[in-house]
Amino acid sequence: MTALAALIRRDVRVALRVGGGALIGVLFFLIVVVLMPFAVGPDLALLKKLGPAILWLGALLASLLTLDRLFTADHEDGSLDLIVMGRTPLELACAAKALAHWLAVGLPLVAATPILGLLLNLDAIATGAVALTLLAGTPALTFTGMIGAALAVVLRRGGLLLSVLVLPLSIPVLIFGVAASNAAVSGPSPFGTPFSILCALSLASLVIGPFAAAASLRHGLD
């Protein structure tokens, strides 16, 4: 337990210190959301309708694009070798790293949602619904994205390749996240159904992600 807590603490600390990527994620989220009205026009009624979708797309891109350093940074400085050799199962270590990433990057995205909701003319209920679905759904993004981050170490290529690998995997999360947010605002369908599926996706990714990431790291070390 101390080993995992130490790993989480270290990763969060590194993300928050100079050179860390914690705040870049929120900034990216902010910029993506601000760009949207320039593309669709400053029509508040339209933005209100598109708001949940825009926020979800922004959060999706922000959390996935910050993931590519999740394992490569540790691989480059040699830490990954020691993590693989350690007595802590690699699956748990991967889960701890992903959790730390979610704490440093995912959670700030959820926290920034109310402010961005204001920009998109969302009312309190809609903003709350989007924030809640992001809270439930961003772990799924991080934990599926982690598989791509592990592959980036194996393939020695990060960045865009990672997005190409991971973005298709995140489609279900996007569908149910936006569906649940819209259901809370306008939809005839209830909020509960898509939200439950979103939670289920998150829980499933909590299990699948670490195993897949650990497997690809183990076979890919060189």
Partner: protein, 243 residues
């Protein structure tokens, strides 16, 4: 005392120590006068008491652009003259500029609530200020991303200058984008000539906020110089303990 003397960080520190108390006093005085005058200024016949937000909003909006100008001069200082204080000035101006820009946005949206019925309208001015705010944040992120300040300084200087060239272009594009989509229907400040009763408090507030920026900036520069000295001493300690 010439500019060359000021280039010496130690001399800057002594001078800053001597000036700062006076500057704080003058700033407080001018801001107090400005706030008092703003309070007694008459309400607008259209906007009511809401117009008084402008006494805070306009100086902040003015400073949001002025600070970028200060940073651009500092960026030139870094790139062209390699002035040792230039990157200190540029680095410390960014968070202060971001804070003023944020206040401009905040007061703008508080003003917009009774005027437009929403906190946010994609109005050309507010939108341009929002983009400026994002650019400040990006610049701060750049400063944070690089551990070595002198390397960060050059990158930030280039970005600042590119920004100063781009800001008018962005402003123009946003204006065009906005008028394309939305015929001017909202109440606008500054459309008509300002009454003297508004103009004088506004000017006093603008001077007060500019002085506030000056005070904060000099204090922040002093802190940054000291922080860099601590860093140098620590690195010295690290290399000494190796011997």
């Amino acid at each position: 005392m010439t500019l060359i003397d000021l280039a010496n960080p130690s001399r800057f520190l002594t001078l800053a120590g001597r000036i700062l108390p006076w500057l704080v006093a003058v700033t407080a005085l001018v801001l107090a006068i400005g706030l008092y005058q703003s309070a007694i200024a008459p309400d607008d016949y259209q906007q009511g008491a809401t117009v008084k937000i402008m006494f805070i909003h306009v100086p902040n909006a003015w400073l949001s652009m002025f600070v970028w100008g200060v940073m651009s001069v500092a960026a030139l200082g870094t790139l062209v003259w390699r002035h040792p204080l230039a990157d200190v000035a540029a680095k410390t101006a960014a968070p202060i500029g971001a804070a003023f820009t944020f206040l401009a946005l905040l007061t703008g949206s508080l003003w917009g609530r009774p005027m437009w019925g929403t906190y946010w309208e994609w109005d050309a001015r507010l939108t341009s200020v929002l983009i400026l705010f994002l650019m400040y944040l990006g610049l701060m992120a750049l400063w944070r991303a690089v551990e070595d300040p002198s390397r960060a300084a050059r990158a930030a200087a280039v970005l600042t200058l590119v920004g100063s060239v781009n800001i008018p272009i962005i402003k123009f594009s946003v204006d065009w984008w906005n008028t394309l989509h939305q015929p001017a229907s909202v109440v606008r400040m500054g459309g008509s000539t300002l009454d003297r009763a508004f103009l004088i408090p506004l000017l006093v507030m603008a001077i007060g906020f500019t002085l506030l920026f000056l005070t904060l900036h000099i204090a922040a520069m002093r802190n940054e110089i000291l922080r860099r000295r601590v860093r140098t001493l620590q690195m010295l300690q690290a290399s000494k303990s190796a011997a």
